[in-house]
C-alpha cells in the first residue's frame, strides 16, 4: 500500500477502538447516492517503474543538458552551486510548513529573515516579505498596495509596455473585479510619455529594470515626477541585474518587485519560482503575505517570529487586502543560500559575466548581414535582434544545431515582427556563442 503503513491486524484493532466493523462505515454521512464511485485511473506502479517513466517523460523535453539555451524572457538559465540543492533537500526544511509555531520553526524563520535582509540589500528597500508566487503576482500585489496607500481615492495605474507581457496580463486578471483603469502599455510609449499620463488620480507607475527588452533606462529623474503627482513608483527588477546596476531604492522606487528565480531556482518549466516584494518603511504595514521579524523569547534569547499577522486573511478575513497564505518559502530558502554563497563579490562577478557574454554575442550578431541589434541603450544580459527572416525559421535551424534560440517578440509586439529577444548568461561559453552566431549568420 505504498506510503500507508497499516498492517491488517492494526487496522482491525483501530476499527474495534472506533466501534465499527469496516472503514467504509465511517463514510455514512456522504450522500449514499454518490458514495464510492469507480475511478478510471491507470493501475498502480512500483517505485522502480515510476522512476523509469519519469525519466522517459523528462527526456522527451529539450533541456539544458542537451541544448545550449539562449532564451530568457522572464526565466533564466543560471549556474546553481551544488550546496543550494543539498540544503533544499534537508527534510527539516522541505517537509515543514508555515512557521505558525515559532519555538520549533526557528530554522525556517531565521533563514527567511536572512532572505528578507539580503533582498533589502539588493533592492535598496527597507523591508521585504517572505515571498509571493512569482514576479507577475508580486506586481499584481504591488498594485493593491498602491491603491490601498491612496485609500482607493486614486484609480489609475500606469504600466510600461516594456514590462513582461505576461506580468501585465496577470495584473489585469487580478484586478478585473475592481473599478480601476490600467493604462500606458497598449502603445510603444517611452518613459517620458508615461510621465505625461500622471495626474492626481494616478496611484502608481510601474517600470521594468532592465526592461523586457533587456535595456537599462536611466531612471534618475523618474521618481521625482512620480512623487510630485502623489503616486508610487513601482520597479520590476531582475535581481541578478542588481548585482551590477544601481538599486531601485537609490533611484527612488517605493516598491520593488520581481522574479528571483535567477538566484538559485532552476528553470523547471516555469515554476515553482520566487516572487519577491520589497518596500519602503513608510508603507511596510500595507505589505501582504508573511513577514518575519526579530524578537526575544521569555529568557531574552534572540528569536524570530511571523509578525504583522493581523493583516492576513486568517485574521482579517473579508477585510484582508490579499488572500495569500501558502507562498514560495522553499524557493526563498534557495535564494537565501544562493546569495549567501555568492556574497558581495561572487554575485558581482556573475553579473559581470552575464554582461560581457551578452555584449559579445550582441556585437557579433550586429555585424552579421541582415541582422541588427538595438545598442542605443545599455543592456544587461538580454537584447533585441532584428532578423532577416521569421524568428521561427531561425529557431528551427538553431534547434537542429542543439541551440534553443531567442524569444519571438512578434506575437506580443506588433512593431517587432521578425525580432527576437536573445539572452546570454554565465552558463554560455564562448564556443556556444560562436556557434550561435555562425548558425544565425548562415541564414542571413
Amino acid at each position: 500500500m505504498s506510503y500507508i503503513p497499516h498492517t491488517p491486524a492494526e487496522t482491525r484493532t483501530m476499527l474495534a477502538e472506533i466501534g465499527v466493523r469496516s472503514i467504509d462505515e465511517l463514510f455514512e454521512a456522504a450522500p449514499q447516492s454518490h458514495r464510492f464511485p469507480a475511478l478510471d485511473l491507470p493501475p498502480p506502479m512500483s517505485e522502480m517503474e515510476v522512476a523509469a517513466e519519469m525519466l522517459a517523460i523528462s527526456e522527451a523535453n529539450d533541456h539544458g543538458q542537451d541544448f545550449a539555451i539562449f532564451r530568457g524572457a522572464g526565466a533564466y538559465h543560471h549556474f546553481i552551486p551544488s550546496v543550494v540543492n543539498h540544503i533544499l533537500l534537508r527534510g527539516e526544511f522541505y517537509t515543514a510548513y508555515t512557521p505558525y509555531q515559532p519555538e520549533i520553526s526557528q530554522g525556517t524563520l531565521q533563514a527567511t529573515y536572512e532572505y528578507q535582509s539580503m533582498m533589502c540589500a539588493l533592492t535598496g528597500m527597507d523591508a521585504a516579505n517572505a515571498s509571493h508566487y512569482d514576479g507577475a503576482t508580486s506586481l499584481a500585489e504591488a498594485v493593491t498596495v498602491a491603491l490601498e496607500a491612496s485609500r482607493h481615492r486614486r484609480r489609475k495605474v500606469i504600466l510600461s509596455h516594456a514590462i513582461h507581457p505576461q506580468y501585465r496580463e496577470v495584473v489585469r486578471t487580478y484586478h478585473q473585479g475592481r473599478d480601476i483603469r490600467i493604462i500606458g502599455d497598449r502603445g510603444r510609449g517611452e518613459i517620458v510619455d508615461l510621465l505625461e499620463m500622471l495626474d492626481d488620480n494616478t496611484a502608481m507607475l510601474a517600470l521594468q529594470y532592465p526592461n523586457f527588452f533587456g535595456q537599462i533606462n536611466d531612471l534618475a529623474t523618474v521618481a521625482e515626477a512620480v512623487h510630485e503627482a502623489g503616486a508610487l513608483l513601482v520597479i520590476v527588477a531582475n535581481p541578478m541585474a542588481l548585482s551590477l546596476f544601481k538599486s531601485p531604492g537609490e533611484l527612488g522606487a517605493d516598491i520593488v518587485v520581481g522574479e528571483a528565480q535567477p538566484m538559485g531556482v532552476p528553470l523547471g518549466f516555469g515554476g515553482p519560482y520566487l516572487g519577491y516584494f520589497a518596500i519602503r518603511q513608510k508603507y511596510v504595514r500595507r505589505i501582504a503575505g508573511r513577514i518575519i521579524g526579530e524578537t526575544r523569547d521569555a529568557d531574552g534569547k534572540r528569536a524570530f517570529v511571523m509578525t504583522l499577522r493581523p493583516r492576513e486573511q486568517d485574521i482579517k478575513r473579508e477585510r484582508a487586502t490579499s488572500n495569500i497564505c501558502t507562498n514560495q518559502g522553499l524557493m526563498a530558502l534557495a535564494a537565501s543560500v544562493y546569495m549567501a554563497l555568492m556574497g558581495k563579490n561572487g554575485l558581482r562577478q556573475v553579473g559581470e559575466l552575464n554582461y560581457h557574454k551578452a555584449h559579445y554575442a550582441a556585437e557579433r550578431i550586429n555585424r552579421l548581414d541582415g541582422y541588427s541589434v538595438d545598442m542605443s541603450k545599455p543592456f544587461f544580459n538580454e537584447f533585441v535582434v532584428a532578423c532577416p527572416r521569421p524568428v521561427e525559421e531561425i529557431n528551427q535551424a538553431l534547434l537542429e544545431e542543439g541551440i534553443i534560440g531567442g524569444y519571438d517578440l512578434g506575437p506580443h509586439y506588433f512593431h517587432l515582427q521578425d525580432h527576437m529577444l536573445l539572452c546570454a548568461t554565465e552558463t554560455n561559453g564562448k564556443d556556444e556563442i560562436d556557434r550561435l552566431v555562425e548558425v544565425m549568420g548562415g541564414l542571413g
Binding site: 517537509t95 486578471t173 515553482p272
Partner: protein, 533 residues
C-alpha cells in the same frame, strides 16, 4: 541586528555576523569573452551582501535546519494542512535535467514530455473529482479560490446578470474564502452553522429566497467542513443555491477525505480547487510552494485560467498511451543532439501533439508561465504510485487514523460534535476546572513530548479549538504515543498547570515576545544603503 552587535544569547549567528571581507563561497569561471565597458553612471557602488565561505554556508544552514520540526522527524497533525509524508521518489524526479533544466518558453515540440504529463494530470484530477476540465495554473489553494470566484463572476456577467455579487460563506470557512471574495470585488455574506456543525439550512434558505435572491452569485463551502465533518445536507445546500441562480464553489483543502468516496462534480459542484501540496503529497517547503489546480464543469470550462494543455493534433494514436512500453510515446518530433534516432513514419503509432491553449473566455493568467510545474510532476508520480486501486485507500486510511485518534482522545478531551469525522476533527483545548490552561498551552506542551501541535483556534466557531489531522501515512504506534502525550498533558493541567503555561521547555527557544516584534518591527539586518533623497 541593526546595531551590528551579536546578542549574547542567540541560537545561531546571522549570516551577516559570520561575514569576513574578501571571503567567498563560490568558484566561478574566468571570463572567456572580451570585456565590454560598463556604463559607469549606472553602476552601483556597493552590494552589501555577506562574504562567507562554502563550508560556513553549509554549516549555517544545516544548523538552522536542526532548529525546525518537520514531517521527516515525526507526526505533524496540523489540521487543514494535510501534512502527509512527502515521497523521496518525487524529489528525485523533480531534479531530472529534463524537468529542472526545461525553459518554460520552449517550443511545443521540445516540451512534449512536460505537456504530456500536465495533460495526464489534468485528466486524472478531473476523474478523481468528477469535473469536465482542469487548469493547473494556480500557484496555491488561495489562488485557485481566486480563479474560481473570478470564473463565477464572469459567468454571471456574460449571462447579463452582473448584479449577482454576493458569495455566501459559512462562518467556519478558511479565512482565504472571504478574503478571496473581496479580492474579486464581490461581497461576502456569512452563514452560521447549526448544532451539528452543518450549514444552518434556515439561514441558507433565507439568504437564497429573500430580497437578495437576484444578487446571489454563489457559495463557497469546504467539504468535509473545516470541522472535519461531512455536511449531511450537502445535496440540499447545492440545490438551494442553484435554484437561486448561484454557482457552487468547493474549497478542496479537505480532498484527502473525499478521494474515491464522492466526486464533488457529481454532487453538483460547479468548480473546486485542489491543493496538490496537501492531498497529492507535494512538500510544504516551510511555507510553500503549493499548487492550486482548479476543476470545473461544462458551464465554467470556457472561463478557466490559462493556459491549459490540450491535444493539438491527434496523430494516429488515440488518447493516453500508458500501456505502451515506457518511453515509446515520448519521442520528440525533431532529431536530438544526443544521437538518439528520430522515429521514422511507419515505425509505430505517431504520438499525439500536446500544446497550450487559452480557453475561449478565459479569466486570464493567474501567474507567468504555466503554474508550479515542479508540483505537477510530483503529483503525477504520486497518483501513478497509487493508481486506480490505491487512491481510495489514501482517503480510507486518512479517515481511519483520524477517527481512531478521535475515539481515543474523547476520553480525556471534549469533542464538540458526536459524529464520525472525516480526515480531521476538532477537540476543545480546555480542561474541566482548569480555566487558566488554554489550547495554546496544550499545543506548546506537545512540543516537549516531541510532536508538532495541531492547528490552534481554527475553526473560529469552536472555543479553544485544536484541529487534528494525522493523515494516512502515520503508523499506529505514533498515533498511540500522541494519545498518551495528550492524556498526560490533560493530567498535568490538573496537577501542575504551570508546566503547561511555561511550555515548551525543551524546544530551541521558549515562548516569544510577539508584542515586541510587532512594535519594533526589526525586519532586516542588512547594512543600510545610500538612500534616495
Amino acid at each position: 541586528m541593526m546595531d551590528g552587535q551579536v546578542p549574547e544569547q542567540a541560537l545561531q549567528p546571522l549570516i551577516y555576523d559570520i561575514s569576513a571581507p574578501g571571503r567567498s563561497g563560490v568558484n566561478l569561471p574566468e571570463c572567456d569573452v572580451p570585456r565590454a565597458p560598463l556604463p559607469a553612471d549606472l553602476i552601483r557602488d556597493d552590494l552589501p551582501l555577506p562574504e562567507v565561505g562554502e563550508v560556513q554556508v553549509v554549516r549555517h544552514f544545516v544548523k538552522l535546519s536542526q532548529l525546525n520540526y518537520s514531517i521527516d522527524q515525526g507526526l505533524y497533525p496540523l489540521g487543514s494542512c494535510t501534512m502527509k509524508y512527502n515521497p523521496k521518489l518525487n524529489e528525485d524526479a523533480a531534479r531530472l535535467p529534463g524537468f529542472a533544466q526545461l525553459h518554460p518558453l520552449t517550443d511545443e515540440a521540445g516540451s512534449q514530455g512536460a505537456l504530456f504529463l500536465m495533460h495526464e494530470l489534468q485528466g486524472w484530477l478531473g476523474e478523481i473529482s468528477g469535473f469536465e476540465a482542469v487548469s493547473l495554473t494556480p500557484a496555491a489553494g488561495a489562488q485557485g479560490e481566486f480563479a474560481g470566484i473570478l470564473m463565477i463572476r464572469q459567468y454571471h456577467i456574460d449571462r447579463g446578470e452582473g448584479q449577482r455579487d454576493i458569495i455566501l460563506v459559512p462562518n467556519s470557512a478558511h479565512g482565504t474564502n472571504p478574503a478571496t471574495v473581496t479580492m474579486a470585488g464581490m461581497e461576502v455574506r456569512e452563514l452560521p452553522a447549526d448544532a451539528q456543525g452543518n450549514v444552518d439550512m434556515r439561514a441558507l434558505h433565507a439568504a437564497c429566497e429573500g430580497d437578495l435572491r437576484d444578487r446571489i452569485a454563489g457559495m463557497m463551502i469546504t467539504v468535509p467542513s473545516t470541522l472535519g465533518l461531512f455536511e449531511s445536507t450537502i445535496l440540499e445546500v447545492i440545490e438551494t443555491v442553484h435554484d437561486a441562480g448561484g454557482l457552487m464553489y468547493m474549497d478542496g483543502a479537505n480532498m484527502n477525505a473525499l478521494m474515491g468516496v464522492v466526486k464533488p462534480g457529481e454532487l453538483g459542484f460547479d468548480v473546486m480547487h485542489y491543493n496538490l501540496h496537501k492531498t497529492f503529497s507535494t512538500p510544504h517547503g516551510g511555507g510553500g510552494p503549493g499548487s492550486g489546480a482548479v476543476g470545473v464543469n461544462e458551464k465554467l470550462k470556457p472561463y478557466l485560467p490559462g493556459p491549459i494543455v490540450e491535444i493539438i493534433d491527434e496523430g494516429q494514436a488515440t488518447g493516453p498511451t500508458l500501456d505502451m512500453p515506457v518511453g515509446a510515446t515520448y519521442q520528440v518530433a525533431h532529431e536530438r543532439t544526443d544521437g538518439s534516432p528520430q522515429p521514422k513514419p511507419g515505425d509505430g503509432p505517431e504520438p499525439p501533439l500536446y500544446g497550450f491553449v487559452m480557453p475561449e473566455k478565459s479569466i486570464g493568467r493567474m501567474k507567468a508561465f504555466h503554474g508550479n510545474f515542479g508540483m505537477h510532476l510530483r503529483a503525477y508520480a504520486y497518483i501513478r504510485v497509487y493508481g486506480d486501486s490505491g487512491i481510495r485507500d489514501v482517503t480510507r486510511y486518512a479517515v481511519l487514523n483520524a477517527n481512531y485518534l478521535r475515539a481515543r482522545l474523547m476520553r480525556s478531551y471534549r469533542v464538540p460534535y458526536p459524529r464520525y469525522c472525516g480526515h480531521e476533527f476538532v477537540l476543545e483545548g480546555h480542561i474541566e476546572g482548569v480555566d487558566e490552561v488554554h489550547a495554546l498551552d496544550i499545543s506548546k506542551r506537545l512540543m516537549d513530548y516531541g510532536f508538532h501541535p495541531p492547528t490552534n483556534y481554527f475553526p473560529l466557531i469552536v472555543p479553544e479549538a485544536l484541529l487534528i489531522e494525522p493523515t494516512e501515512t502515520e503508523v499506529k504506534e505514533d498515533l498511540d504515543a500522541f494519545v498518551e502525550a495528550m492524556e498526560r498533558i490533560a493530567q498535568e493541567a490538573r496537577t501542575e498547570p504551570e508546566t503547561l503555561l511555561n511550555a515548551p521547555h525543551t524546544a530551541p527557544v521558549r515562548r516569544l515576545d510577539e508584542v515586541r516584534a510587532a512594535k519594533e518591527l526589526v525586519l532586516c539586518c542588512a547594512p543600510a544603503l545610500p538612500s534616495y533623497s
